[in-house]
C-alpha cells in the first residue's frame, strides 16, 4: 500500500514534467482492496488533454510496483484549485521558468466587480521566474496549456508561462 502510493505519487504531469501529480494536487486517493488497487485523480481543467496519458502512466507505475489490477477513477468534486499545488511543486515550477500561481481565493462563483465584469482572480504582479523582477506584463490570459497564461518580463524581456490561479 505504502509502496503503491509512493510509486503512483512519482508520476509526473506530462505537460508540466517538473512536477508530480501529487505535487500538482491532482492525486486524490490510493486504496487497495485485496489485489485490486484504485487510484483517484481529479482534472485540472475539464478539457485537460493530459488526463489520458496520466491514467496510462499511473497504471504502468502501479504495475511496476506489483499491482497488476488497477482502476483509475476520476473525481470532479471538490473541484481542483491551484491552491492545492504544494510548496515543493511551486518551487519546482519556478525553477523551471514557470511562474507559480497566486492564491485563487474563493470558489470563483461569486459575481465580481472587476472592470470587465469578470470574477477572475486578478494578480497585481507576477514575478519573473528568471530574473525575479516584479515588472512584468500579461500578454495573454491563455497560454501553451489550459492551466497557464503567457507573460513577459519588462526587465529581462524574457517571455514566460505562469500558472493561472483557478
Amino acid at each position: 500500500m505504502t509502496s503503491l502510493h509512493a510509486a503512483v505519487a512519482e508520476v509526473v504531469d506530462p505537460e508540466l514534467r517538473v512536477v508530480t501529480i501529487e505535487e500538482l494536487g491532482i492525486l486524490r486517493a490510493v486504496t487497495v482492496d485485496g489485489e485490486r488497487a484504485t487510484v483517484t485523480i481529479t482534472p485540472t481543467y475539464s478539457g485537460c488533454p493530459a488526463m489520458d496519458v496520466i491514467r496510462a502512466d499511473i497504471v504502468a507505475a502501479a504495475r511496476r510496483a506489483g499491482y497488476p489490477v488497477v482502476s483509475v477513477v476520476t473525481a470532479l468534486s471538490p473541484a481542483w484549485s491551484t491552491d492545492q499545488i504544494s510548496a515543493t511543486g511551486r518551487e519546482k515550477l519556478a525553477a523551471a521558468g514557470i511562474a507559480p500561481p497566486g492564491p485563487a481565493g474563493g470558489s470563483g462563483s461569486a459575481g465580481g466587480s472587476a472592470p470587465a465584469g469578470g470574477p477572475v482572480p486578478v494578480r497585481l504582479s507576477v514575478r519573473c521566474p528568471r530574473c525575479g523582477s516584479p515588472d512584468t506584463e500579461q500578454l495573454n490570459r491563455f497560454g501553451s496549456t489550459a492551466c497557464k497564461a503567457l507573460w513577459r518580463c519588462r526587465t529581462c524581456t524574457e517571455p514566460f508561462d505562469a500558472v493561472k490561479p483557478l
Partner: protein, 229 residues
Amino acid sequence: MTDVLGLGDDALIAAQRLAQWCARAPELEEDVALANIALDQLGTARLLLSYAGEVLGRDEDQLAFLRTDREFRNVLLVELPDRDFAVLIAKLFFLSAYQHLRYGALSSGADERLAGIAAKAVKESAYHLDHSAQWTVRLGDGTDVSHARMQAAVDEVWPYTHELFDEVPELRAPWLSTVDGVLAEATLTRPQDETWKPGGGRQGVHTEALSYLLAEMQVLHRAHPGARW
C-alpha cells in the same frame, strides 16, 4: 436530464464554432486563447454528454457524432455563423455570462454529479467571460470602425439571447446586470427587446447553420464508424 443534454450541446457546438477560428484570429495570441476556450467547452461537453448518455443508453461519441440536427438541444445562439470577429466576441460574451450564472446555480443543486461538473465549469467560464468582456470593451471603445462593427454584432445577436432564459427566467436579471456594465464601458448601446425572439433550439428546431456545422463535425465518424487511432 433535459438540462444536462441542452447544456452539453451548448458547450459542444460552441467548442466546434470556436475551433473553426484556429489560425484565423486577428493575432496569434487570440488563436491560442480561442483554442483554449474551445478546449474548456469541449471538456465540459464531454462530462455532460457522458452523464446524459448514461441515462439515455448512449455514449458521448454516439451523442456527438450520430445525432441529426433535430436531436440536438443547444440554443440557437451557439450555432449561428461567426460572420466576423465581432460576432464571435458578442456570442462568446453573451454565452459565457449565461454559462457562468447557470453553472454557478447548478453547482449547489440537488443533482450531485451535475453539481460537480458545474463547480468545475464555473471556474473556467469566469475566464471566458473575462476574456470576451475585455474584447467587447476593446472593440466597442476602439476605433469608429471597430465600434460600428461591434455594435452591429451586438444588435444582430441580441434577439437570440432571449432563448437562454426560457428555462431559467430568474437568471436574466443578473445576466443583464453583467452585460449592461460591460456594454456601458464599451460605449455600446443595449438593443431594444423586440418582439422577435427566435427560439426552438431546446426542442430540436434549429437554423440551417447547425446542419452545415454538424456535417463538418460528424463526417469522419460517419464515414469510418468505429475507427480508432
